[in-house]
């Protein structure tokens, strides 16, 4: 009896091995702010990622359908860790999208420990480039943005004294350090800096201090609704210095704010008029689907999903299993990726390098002033 069962088991096992590969469903994770004061970003991020899923599935890039399991981080580290734990242990994803510096840093430990790839397309804290092999960035980080805009303001605009209003979290702290480093190198000076809690909404007192500092430039390093409140209250309270912000400010609500007029912001340079097939398809389909022009954030999460599609397809082509380890190995073996914005490569630290544009907000839109390329 036992021998007969053993034989039957062996036959079934052999039959399974001999069967052709069946379509495998692919699920990747995404930990975005879907509620709370930063939920507006979640909608922006999802629109890019969802479009990439549509394109990958329509093109039959993978052996089976691709889908995204979304979890809500509220842009806070603690809920993000809970979400990452669920995605890793319950959903079993090999690849997870993340956003916000604090969130990305919080989940990076779990990503490394479980060999799951985490990909950031929204946080720009400079130290996100140092979170290990399993944490990648498809967005240029804030150190590059600062290194593009600060020399421009000091050398070309003659604005030498800076004040910094920064959020009291890993992003703000990193940007504070970066500004303290860069300014002396280019002949500028940080005359004052003001750290504000992540939950603060009242900045008229800070505005009074900023005004008293006499700075030529006020750099705002916050995100979400708070950065808009800071800008509005600075202007309302008589601060007429040049206001500057990083790419986090390039959201529709911020660009439409009357007080944003004349602000200088930075962001990755993406040529939306490019004729390359990937960019053209993205721009056309995004505009048609969402009835608005895409922004860099839409591009980043579209690209992040495209990267997964390309790597997973390469692994499947070689008959391998799509795991975090395999994705990392495949990325290292892939010299370049055709993404929105052109053909790009990952640096050794897992961060994509894009040129940085310095832009000015006029009439509710950001217009490029100059573009800076880094090696």
């Amino acid at each position: 009896m036992t021998r007969r069962f053993t034989l039957a088991g062996a036959i079934v096992s052999l039959a399974c091995l001999a069967m052709p590969a069946v379509a495998e469903e692919h699920t990747i994770g995404a930990i975005f702010p879907l509620s709370g004061t930063n939920a507006v970003y979640g909608d922006v991020f999802m629109s890019g990622a969802d479009l990439a899923v549509e394109h990958i599935n329509a093109d039959g890039v993978l052996s089976g359908p691709l889908s995204i399991a979304y979890e809500d981080s509220q842009a806070l580290p603690q809920p993000a860790v809970v979400a990452m734990t669920k995605l890793v242990n319950v959903t079993g994803v090999p690849y997870t999208l993340s956003a916000f510096t604090g969130v990305s840093k919080a989940i990076s430990t779990l990503a490394t420990r479980n060999s799951v790839v985490g990909v950031n397309g929204g946080g720009v804290g400079p130290d996100l480039a140092e979170l290990g092999d399993y944490f990648w960035n498809v967005i240029p980080l804030a150190n590059l943005e600062m290194r593009a805009v600060v020399p421009f303001l000091v050398e070309e605009r003659g604005l030498k004294s800076f004040a910094l209003v920064y959020v009291d979290d890993p992003l703000g702290d990193a940007m504070h350090e970066e500004l303290e480093t860069i300014l002396p190198e280019v002949g500028g000076e940080l005359v004052d800096s003001f750290s504000v809690p992540t939950t603060a909404q009242q900045f008229s007192g800070v505005a009074a201090q900023v005004r008293a500092s006499g700075a030529d430039v006020v750099y705002v390093a916050s995100y979400g609704n708070q950065q808009l409140q800071i800008v509005k209250q600075l202007r309302d309270n008589g601060v007429d210095a040049q206001l500057v912000a990083y790419s986090g400010y390039a959201v529709p609500d911020a660009l439409a704010l009357p007080e944003s007029e004349g602000m200088i912001i930075t962001g990755q340079g993406v040529d939306f008029d490019s004729e390359d097939a990937v960019t053209k398809r993205f721009v056309e389909d995004y505009t048609a689907k969402f009835d608005r022009a895409p922004t860099a954030y839409n591009v980043n999460y579209y690209n992040a999903v495209l990267v997964y599609g390309a790597l997973a397809a390469a692994i499947e082509a070689e008959g391998g299993e799509v795991t975090g380890e395999a994705l990392l190995e495949a990325r290292r073996a892939t010299e370049s990726f055709d993404l929105v914005g052109g053909t790009v490569s990952f640096q050794d630290n897992g961060t994509l390098l894009f040129p940085i544009q310095v832009k000015e907000i006029r009439d509710g839109a950001a217009h490029a002033l100059t573009s800076v390329t880094f090696d």
Binding site: S195, G205, V206, A208, Q209, D236
Partner: protein, 289 residues
């Protein structure tokens, strides 16, 4: 000059804190309902104003819409949520959880209707002008201080000089005695919710033009209201009013001595100090248990 500037800024902030906090204190003091959804009342008033004003219907209809929205929400919440729970011997904690839940529902509904991003009412009244060298004050700051004086003065008159106001104070002291005098405690409670809700309207309208709005702003309003109610003395409307002003001033003037990231903590440092040193609050009555 910086100290004068911060004092004026603090006064404006404190005036708005006082208005919202007094509304909560009045409701809590007279009904003993921990109306956590008071923050949601603020959000409703602010977004009703924003919506109607944005539709181009003018200032007065927008303020009227904000007032109607706030009062209707407060009174209906009392009638449809709090009263049934209390009829079924619901505990203080049950009422609190229900109120908390309503606050979250309102936040999400507002987010669905108006979006979850930052919105603001654009008006030249929010732009500061230089009064004396180095001191900037916006017309809205004066309006905020004036509104607070008018509304809180009217409230004091209402509570001390009208029968309904006296009934409200009586309800806080002894609900059974109120019944003995033939008054209906439920009707008086509804009045408390209506008056308490109206008080957030000027603060909500002014905030929509100064700091701007997002659906989650109610939590901050509620925290400040709670802190001011405790610091002022639970049940003391005058104490809460003073505490609101004190917290606004302290938050602003703290910038002279501490880093900007600690200004919010100042509110809670004052709260803890009162809890430890003077638990009855500024004008509250000490009780022995």
């Amino acid at each position: 000059m910086l100290a004068i500037q911060l004092a004026i800024t603090g006064l404006q902030t404190g005036a708005l804190y006082a208005l919202t906090a007094v509304g909560f204190s009045l409701i809590f003091g007279s009904t003993r309902i921990f109306h956590f959804a008071h923050g949601a009342t603020f959000v409703i008033a602010a977004y009703f104003f924003y919506g109607v004003f944005g539709a181009g219907l003018g200032l007065l209809p927008s303020i009227a819409a904000a007032g109607l929205g706030a009062v209707a929400f407060g009174v209906l919440l009392d009638r449809l949520v709090y009263a049934p729970i209390q009829r079924h011997e619901g505990s203080f904690f049950t009422v609190f959880v229900a109120s908390f839940g309503v606050g979250i529902v309102v936040q999400n509904l507002i987010g669905m209707v108006f979006g979850r991003g930052f919105v603001t009412v654009n008006t030249p009244l929010s732009r500061s002008v230089e009064m004396i060298p180095g001191v900037y004050v916006s017309p809205l700051a004066w309006i905020a201080i004036l509104c607070t004086a008018i509304f809180l003065g009217a409230l004091q008159f209402f509570l001390r000089r009208t029968h309904t106001g006296m009934a409200l104070r009586a309800l806080a002291d002894n609900p059974e005695l109120v019944r003995t005098f033939g008054l209906n405690p439920r009707m008086i409670a509804a009045t408390a919710f209506a008056v308490g809700s109206v008080l957030v309207v000027p603060a909500a309208v002014i905030t929509s033009a100064t700091t701007g709005l997002n659906p989650a702003i109610g939590h901050h309003v509620m925290l400040i209201s709670l802190a001011a109610t405790i610091v002022g003395g639970i049940g003391s409307v005058s104490g809460t009013m003073l505490a609101g002003l004190l917290l606004g001033l302290a938050e602003s003037l703290a910038l002279l001595v501490v880093d900007s990231q600690w200004t919010e903590a100042v509110t809670f440092a004052i709260l803890f100090a009162f809890i430890i040193i003077r638990p009855a609050g500024l004008l509250g009555r000490a009780t022995a248990h």
